[in-house]
C-alpha cells in the first residue's frame, strides 16, 4: 500500500510539473496543451469510440503478427541449434536480420503487399521472428549437457527429450527472447502505422499521425499516453507473471 501511494505521488508530481509548465507559458499552448485538454481529448475519443476501435485494430495486428512470429520462430530456433546446416544458414541469417531495425521492413512491405493488412502483419512478424529464433537457439545451446545425460539414462528420447527437457531448460532464454520480440514488434508496428495509411483500419499509430497533421497536440500526447499504458499493461499482465515464476523456480534474484 505504501509503495502504491509513493508511486501515485510520483505521477501526481509529474502532472503538477506539466501543469506548471503549461501555466508558465514558455511554449505556445499549441505545442504544449494542458493535462486537462489531453484528458478532454481522451474522454471524447473514448465516448465516440475512436479510441477503442483504433486500439482493437492495432492490438489485432500486433497479436496475430506476434503469434505467427512465435509459432515460426520457436521451431526454427530449435532446428538452428540442433543441426549445423541450419545454424550456418538460417542462424546466420537470423543474426543478421535481427540487427536490422524492424522499421526498415516497411518500405519493402509496402512494395510487396501494397497498403494492406498483410503489409502490417509482415512488419510485425519480421520484428518478432528473428529475436525469437536467436533466443531459442541461445537457450538450447546453453542447456547444461548433464541434463541431457541424466534424461537419457532415465529413458528420455527424441520428442520427449525436446519437449520435456531441452525446451523447459531453455525457458529463461526463450522468455527473454519473447519479450524482446514483443518490444520490437510493438515498435515496428507503431512506425508502420505512422508511415502508412491503410484504409482497412485506423490504428493508434494513424491517430497519432493525424494528430500531427491537424496540429492537434492534445491528440498526439493523448495517444502517446495510451501507447505507453498498453506497453506497461502487456509487461505487467503477461510477462511479469512468467518472469516471476522463472525466478522462483530457478532461484535467480528478482532485485
Amino acid at each position: 500500500m505504501k509503495r502504491f501511494l509513493l508511486a501515485a505521488l510520483f505521477f501526481a508530481v509529474l502532472l503538477l510539473i506539466w501543469e506548471a509548465l503549461y501555466r508558465a507559458k514558455i511554449w505556445s499552448p499549441v505545442l504544449l496543451p494542458s493535462p486537462q485538454q489531453v484528458a478532454l481529448y481522451l474522454e471524447g475519443a473514448v465516448v465516440d469510440g475512436t479510441l477503442a476501435k483504433a486500439t482493437v485494430i492495432t492490438m489485432r495486428r500486433l497479436l496475430i503478427g506476434y503469434l505467427i512470429g512465435l509459432v515460426v520462430g520457436l521451431p526454427l530456433g530449435l532446428l538452428t541449434a540442433r543441426w549445423k546446416l541450419f545454424g550456418d544458414t538460417v542462424g546466420t541469417m537470423a543474426l543478421g536480420l535481427q540487427t536490422l531495425p524492424s522499421v526498415c521492413w516497411v518500405p519493402l512491405a509496402l512494395l510487396w503487399f501494397g497498403q494492406t493488412e498483410a503489409a502490417m502483419l509482415f512488419v510485425v512478424v519480421m520484428g518478432t521472428l528473428w529475436s525469437v529464433v536467436i533466443a531459442t537457439e541461445t537457450g538450447v545451446r546453453n542447456v547444461p549437457p548433464i541434463y541431457r545425460r541424466a534424461a537419457l539414462t532415465m529413458g528420455s528420447k527424441c520428442l520427449h527429450m525436446w519437449f520435456k527437457v531441452i525446451l523447459p531448460a531453455s525457458l529463461p532464454f526463450i522468455v527473454s527472447g519473447m519479450k524482446q520480440g514483443w518490444a520490437f514488434a510493438w515498435r515496428s508496428l507503431m512506425a508502420a502505422e505512422i508511415f502508412v495509411t491503410i484504409l482497412t483500419g485506423f490504428g493508434l499509430g494513424q491517430l497519432l499521425h493525424y494528430g500531427r497533421e491537424l496540429s492537434a497536440m492534445e491528440q498526439v500526447i493523448g495517444i502517446m499516453i495510451v501507447i505507453v499504458v498498453i506497453g506497461l499493461l502487456a509487461d505487467k499482465i503477461f510477462f511479469s507473471p512468467i518472469e516471476r515464476f522463472l525466478h522462483r523456480r530457478w532461484g535467480t534474484s528478482q532485485a
Binding site: 548433464i146 539414462t153 529413458g155 528420455s156 532461484g251
Partner: protein, 277 residues
C-alpha cells in the same frame, strides 16, 4: 513392503524389491583424442559384479573410472570389449541402469516432486496415481517428504543428492551407478548419507557400482574395492572388505582396510591422492 501393500496393486508391483542384475565387463577399452594427443582411458578392463553386490572403484582423477561407469550406463561406447547385464549386451542408456552424478543434475524447472516423478512418467503401464504413490514412497525413503513442493535451488547440497538418489531409485532399476555422488558435500552430511545409502541398499537390493577417489568412503560402502591406475586406465588391485554392516566410517577396523588400500594406491605413484586422505 508394508507401505506398498496399502496402495493400488500396480504401484505395489512397481515398489516390489526386484532381483538386482549381474554385470560382466569384458576387455573394455576406450581411447580419447584431445588437443594434447590421445589418452588410453581404459585398457582392456574386465570386471564381474555379482547380483546385489556393492563394488567401489577408486583411483586418482583421470584414471578412467568415470569413463567405465559411463560405458556401463550406455552413455559412451567402448572402442573395444563388451558390457553385459544379465548376459545381454548394453547398447545404450536404459532405465534398468540408472546413474547418480556428482553434480545433482536435477531439473530446475520442476520442483522436488516433479523431479522424482520424471523417470516414472517415462515408464509405461502405470497410472498417474501409481506414479505419484511411488514418488512419494521414495521421497519418504530418503527423508524428504516434507520438501516435495520445494524448488531445487532451495535445497542444500545434501538434500539435492537425496532427491537425486530418490529419482534414480524411483524407476526401480536393477543397477545403480554412482559417480562420486558425495564428493561435493561436507563431511557431516556425507557421513549421514553413508548410513542412509547402506540402509537403502539393504532394503531395495541393487547392484551398485560406486566411483570415488575417497578410499575411506570406498571401504565403508563396498563389498569389494577395486583400485585403478591411470595412463593407461587399468584395474590394478582388488580388496574384499568383509566388515559387518552397517559400517561406521570412523571405525578402527575400517581405517585398517583403508590404510591398506591407500598403500596400494600410492604404490601406483599418485602423490595427490595422499593429500586426499
Amino acid at each position: 513392503m508394508h507401505l506398498a501393500r496399502r496402495h493400488h496393486s500396480s504401484a505395489a508391483e512397481e515398489l516390489e524389491v526386484i532381483a538386482p542384475s549381474k554385470l560382466a565387463i569384458e576387455n573394455v577399452s576406450k581411447r580419447f583424442k584431445g588437443a594434447s594427443g590421445s589418452v588410453l582411458a581404459l585398457d582392456h578392463v574386465s570386471l564381474n559384479v555379482a547380483e546385489g553386490e556393492f563394488v567401489c572403484l577408486v583411483g586418482a582423477s583421470g584414471c578412467g573410472k568415470s569413463t567405465l561407469l559411463n560405458i556401463i550406463a550406455g552413455l559412451e561406447k567402448p572402442d573395444g570389449g563388451t558390457v553385459l547385464t544379465d548376459g545381454k549386451p548394453v547398447t545404450g542408456p536404459g532405465r534398468e541402469r540408472l546413474v547418480m552424478f556428482q553434480e545433482p543434475a536435477l531439473f530446475p524447472w520442476l520442483n522436488v516432486f516433479g523431479n522424482v516423478l520424471f523417470p516414472l512418467k517415462l515408464k509405461p503401464n502405470l497410472t498417474n496415481k501409481d506414479r505419484r504413490d511411488v514418488a512419494k514412497y521414495y521421497l519418504e525413503l530418503v527423508g524428504l517428504s516434507r520438501f516435495e513442493r520445494a524448488n531445487i535451488h532451495e535445497l542444500s547440497g545434501g538434500m539435492k543428492q537425496r532427491v537425486s538418489l530418490a529419482r534414480a531409485l524411483a524407476p526401480n532399476p536393477r543397477v545403480l551407478l554412482m559417480d562420486e555422488p558425495f564428493a561435493a558435500l561436507d563431511a557431516l552430511t556425507r557421513e549421514q548419507l553413508y548410513g542412509d545409502i547402506q540402509e537403502i541398499w539393504k532394503a531395495r537390493r541393487k547392484t551398485i557400482v560406486f566411483v570415488t577417489h575417497n578410499v575411506r568412503e570406498a571401504a565403508c560402502l563396498g563389498d569389494r574395492v577395486l583400485v585403478f591406475s591411470p595412463h593407461p586406465g587399468r584395474i590394478r588391485e582388488e580388496f574384499a572388505v568383509d566388515l559387518p554392516r552397517p559400517r561406521d566410517i570412523n571405525s578402527v577396523d575400517l581405517a585398517v582396510h583403508a590404510t591398506e588400500i591407500t598403500k596400494a594406491l600410492k604404490s601406483f605413484g599418485q602423490p595427490e591422492l595422499a593429500a586426499v586422505q
